[in-house]
């Protein structure tokens, strides 16, 4: 697949499903693979990407000063210490929302495209102006959702909007998957979600307590804890994004032993 410039919107509709965590980990993973990557925090109301990346104390300027031409782009960009291929463009002041227009986002992204292979846009929750601004500047999208009714419903709204705005490809990441609950049919299955949303699955991310530990530290899992279950998932997603053919794991088959065999038997479709 072309490693040319790609601008990817990471969105979900519902808040708290893992957009920012995915953006941070995907950013690290892509940078690791030698691709220059910019992560843009488009959530001006409630910015958090700086915190997940551990860069909150190094912010001097933001997207706001760049747009107001008070500084150059490279002055606002915060380069990651360990992963020099990765830079963050922090979100500006919430007051920016009063005047920010889709064209402003386009201008910022055009500037970033000149310098980076990948631009990942961390989209705010909701389907209002914040989302529309971020979408205007994007070419393709990753929709993050959880196997829960409310998250899937909101994802569906977002997918409808992405389709009408000719954003493509749109791919799905199913986050916070709990294999045991899925095996017990107490959680929507992978097929349920992909059938309902009718999107190709870019990957799934297993529920992993280490995600919280990593946010506490401001070090994404893919940076230092590459063997944790979720980190492996993120790394696979980054590889697939580049066109590598990494088979999807079946979360139910992953669990072994008698209990797992029994649960699989119980899942057999009779009619």
């Amino acid at each position: 697949m072309e490693t040319d410039k790609r601008v990817i919107l990471i969105c979900s509709g519902k808040g708290g499903v893992g957009k920012t965590t995915l953006t941070a980990n995907l950013g690290i993973s892509l940078a690791r693979q030698g691709l220059t990557t910019a992560v843009l925090d488009a959530d001006f109301g409630l910015r958090n990407l700086d915190l997940l990346l551990g860069l909150e104390n190094r912010i001097v300027y933001t997207a706001q000063e760049v747009l107001e031409e008070e500084c150059r782009l490279d002055q606002a960009l915060v380069k990651h210490k360990q992963e020099s291929n990765l830079s963050l463009l922090p979100a500006g002041n919430p007051r920016m929302l009063d005047w920010l227009k889709p064209d402003d986002m386009k201008r910022i992204v055009e500037m970033l495209k000149e310098q980076f292979n990948y631009v990942l846009i961390d989209c705010p929750a909701g389907v209002e102006d914040g989302f529309k601004n971020a979408m205007a500047a994007s070419q393709e999208a990753i929709v993050v959702t959880n196997p829960e009714v409310s998250a899937v419903r909101d994802a569906d709204r977002v997918i409808g909007l992405l389709n009408t705005n000719a954003i493509k490809p749109v791919q799905l990441v199913l986050n916070r998957v709990r294999p045991k609950m899925m095996a017990n049919q107490e959680m929507l299955s992978i097929d349920d979600v992909t059938d309902i949303l009718a999107l190709p699955l870019l990957g799934l991310v297993l529920e992993d307590e280490q995600v919280i530990v990593s946010t506490n530290r401001g070090e994404p899992l893919t940076l230092n804890s590459v063997n944790s279950p979720a980190a492996k998932c993120y790394l696979n997603i980054a590889k697939r994004l580049q066109g590598e053919d990494i088979p999807l794991i079946d979360p139910i088959k992953e669990s072994s032993g008698f209990g797992a065999k029994f649960r699989r038997l119980m899942q057999t479709k009779i009619f």
Partner: protein, 115 residues
């Protein structure tokens, strides 16, 4: 509707069925409505009008008639299920075989549904 071994065992034990299938069905229904922007009132009005038109040509069981939105692969379809009693002109009964129960008890409607 797909049934798994677990669903059957739960049914036999009169336990609640596993919640994933409930979630799936609720989602499919709510998304069909979300995607169409049709309110329940509008859908109901449309249902009544469709029934009126069809009723001009064939006698249908108005209470049994259902018009609903179904969705698959992001395509939403309007599905009408209208059990026909008999044509206006003759005695030819066009009702589907599985609706024969109601046919015999036209006066007392709504007795043996969903069996």
């Amino acid at each position: 509707m797909a049934m798994t071994l677990r669903d059957i065992i739960n049914k036999l034990l009169r336990r609640q069925r596993a919640s994933a299938s409930t979630a799936r069905e609720r989602l499919q229904l709510v998304l069909a409505h979300d995607r169409s922007d049709l309110s329940t009132e509008l859908l109901d009005q449309m249902r009544r009008e469709i029934l009126e038109v069809v009723a001009k040509y064939v006698e249908i069981d108005v209470d049994e008639g259902a018009v609903s939105l179904e969705t698959e692969d992001r395509m939403t379809a309007l599905v009408a299920n209208l059990p026909i009693k008999r044509t206006m002109t003759g005695q030819i009964k066009l009702k589907e075989p599985n609706n024969q129960l109601e046919e015999n008890s036209q006066e007392t409607e709504g007795t043996d549904q969903n069996s």
